[in-house]
């Protein structure tokens, strides 16, 4: 009887402890969630205020929606409105990269999974190597190449280099190998299907999830890419938004008082608005594509 009572009281104590632990865990999870959104919240709110208000008012205070318009108008004073060009450049470069990278990677993955071409293993290994070697080891060699072939300061230089998408090719290979049975290709071949049609009539219609994952990773990898365009595109009219934002850092007194006074009204709200242009599309795509992120990354490590 005594034993039973002791055991029951131990269980009750354990339950109580686990409730307390559960509460603490949830409190920590919640705290980290709040902390995670504060920087983005600051950036979204900063353009609603005037420069002085960023220091004088509460950091997370809201100014007015007109602040966004004012900040945009001020940005247009910079270098004859080159900001519009940066926005457009970011859009069209990224769109081209997403399209070319997705298409070439999907084709490569399909061919490797469905064909018996020689050097498949070498090809697969070189794709994995390119995927794992940090791009920084290749950037200077790529610069030298671009200089030699006359693609320096040409957007197509950046677009083509960034369209090499080994992670995408590997994901496609995994996807096609695990989703489409070889027998399906064989049956189609017996029915007279050409190799092109195997891709367009069988692989593509079954590739919806793959294409969206490929486009997602290509977009998030390139919209805010800095290193490559910074090196290959020296003219300001060819800049993307991140490079333009960096340019604002060192050519206006917004963040760097050493620049001294200028007649161009670009201060912290204007820089923050540029930051919103860079970060918000990525944030939206991330929030809409959480499942793609998880599925793509898990599939990229091993085949389920």
């Amino acid at each position: 009887m005594g034993n039973l009572l002791t055991r029951n009281s131990k269980r009750a104590k354990l339950r109580q402890e686990s409730r307390v632990a559960g509460f603490l865990v949830n409190a920590w999870l919640l705290f980290f969630a709040v902390f995670s959104i504060v920087p983005m919240l600051w950036m979204l709110l900063a353009p609603t205020k005037e420069d002085a208000e960023i220091t004088n008012r509460h950091p997370l205070a809201f100014g007015s929606f007109a602040g966004y318009k004012r900040a945009w108008d001020n940005l247009l004073f910079f270098d004859d409105g080159v900001m519009k060009q940066w926005v457009w450049n970011s859009i069209w470069y990224t769109a081209c990269i997403v399209i070319i990278a997705t298409l070439t990677a999907s084709l490569a993955g399909f061919v490797i999974s469905a064909s018996r071409l020689p050097f498949k293993r070498a090809f697969l290994v070189s794709t994995l190597v390119t995927m794992l070697v940090p791009p920084m080891a290749l950037v200077v060699p790529i610069f030298i190449l671009m200089d030699k072939i006359g693609l320096m300061d040409n957007p197509w230089g950046v677009i083509l280099v960034a369209s090499l998408y080994p992670f995408g090719a590997f994901l496609s290979y995994i996807y096609y190998t695990s989703t489409i049975p070889k027998e399906l290709y064989e049956a189609a071949k017996i029915d007279g299907c050409s190799d092109f049609k195997l891709y367009t009539k069988i692989a593509i219609p079954l590739s919806g999830p793959l294409i969206s994952i490929l486009a997602f990773f290509a977009f998030i990898g390139n919209w805010a890419n800095y290193f490559l365009p910074y090196i290959l595109l020296p003219s300001s009219e060819n800049y993307t938004l991140p490079i333009g934002m960096g340019f604002l850092f060192y050519s206006t007194p917004a963040i760097n008082p050493a620049v001294g006074a200028t007649s161009v009204p670009v201060y912290k709200p204007e820089i923050a608005l540029t930051g919103v242009f860079v970060a918000l599309p990525i944030l939206i795509v991330f929030l809409l594509s959480q499942k793609r992120l998880v599925r793509g990354m898990l599939a990229g490590s091993i085949k389920e």
């Binding site: 865990v25 920087p39 190998t177 050409s194």
Partner: protein, 300 residues
């Protein structure tokens, strides 16, 4: 018997060509060109030749840059991995519907990278503008310069990189935990496993491959450090992070000193360990092995 689908025909080669051209042109040819660039004459290597390697290795900026990058990796990689594992295990303790909003919040900082990260963290550590100014004042930080010092950069860049990537990986590892079958977890619970034992003995061993994969990608990404020190150095506090990272040093050699031979030599020096690391991961770990299995099956 020859399979009907698997002819080595022209159409397949044609479909592979666009990717193959990109891989050759921007993955392999630049490396070959870099090798040929090394012996060119430059200001630091006036006679030309392979001494460029020796000159780069004895450059006074190289060792500090290596120490900076290794220090950054030593802080950022283990902390990120441990934090991600802990957070995903915590999220997996009692999954409930409201926690999906927490997971959404965690990926918000993933949108803050490069110049945006420099701006945001400059503000966060500014005692007059920061949303955390009360916390900063408790630590006795009264001006931004208390934080933004060369000796603190390794921690500051680690913080930036951590917040940029942790949320994504929490989500991914939480996803990997969901691949463990419910029956296994239930059986362990019935056998009296505590949540801690469940995590240590069941969950972590079952997602080990994903954890290794995360470690490899986070480690490889850690070598890539350019935007933050470069922008900080040129646009915020001039001179604070001069040649701070290896990327910056390669950039400076090439574009400030005009020493492309030296920059190419440095790129090749960096390429060798990263290439060796990549090959080690591919051939000596069980990562990607399932892909190899599926490839072999395809050949049968």
């Amino acid at each position: 018997m020859k399979r009907a689908t698997l002819g080595s025909n022209r159409a397949m080669w044609l479909m592979l060509t666009p990717y193959l051209v990109l891989l050759l042109t921007f993955g392999i040819i630049p490396v070959v060109m870099a090798v040929f660039e090394v012996p060119h004459e430059s200001r630091t290597n006036p006679d030309g030749g392979w001494d460029a390697f020796k000159i780069v290795l004895s450059d006074f900026r190289l060792l500090p840059a290596v120490i900076n990058v290794l220090g950054f990796i030593a802080i950022y990689v283990p902390i990120t991995i441990m934090f991600v594992i802990l957070m995903s295990l915590m999220l997996d303790l009692n999954p409930s519907n409201w926690k999906k909003y927490l997971r959404m919040s965690y990926i918000v900082p993933a949108a803050i990278s490069g110049p945006v990260a420099v701006l945001v963290w400059y503000i966060i550590f500014s005692p007059t503008m920061s949303p955390l100014k009360d916390v900063l004042s408790k630590f006795g930080i009264t001006k931004s310069e208390d934080v933004w010092q060369t000796k603190n950069l390794v921690f500051l860049f680690a913080i930036m990189a951590f917040f940029n990537i942790a949320g994504n990986w929490i989500l991914i590892q939480y996803g990997s935990l969901q691949t463990i079958s419910y029956e296994i977890i239930e059986a362990a619970r019935v056998d009296g496993c505590t949540p801690f034992q469940l995590a240590r003995r069941i969950k972590l061993p079952m997602i080990k491959k994903y954890i290794v994969y995360m470690g490899v990608l986070i480690g490889a990404g850690g070598l890539q450090l350019f935007v933050e020190p470069q922008l900080l150095n040129t646009g915020v506090y001039v001179g604070i992070a001069e040649s701070w990272s290896l990327d910056q040093l390669a950039f400076e050699l090439a574009f400030t000193n005009g020493d492309f031979g030296g920059a190419a030599a440095l790129s090749l020096i960096l390429l060798i360990p990263t290439l060796a690391g990549a090959l080690l991961v591919i051939f000596k770990t069980d990562m990607f092995e399932e892909a190899e299995v599926s490839r072999k099956k395809g050949q049968e």
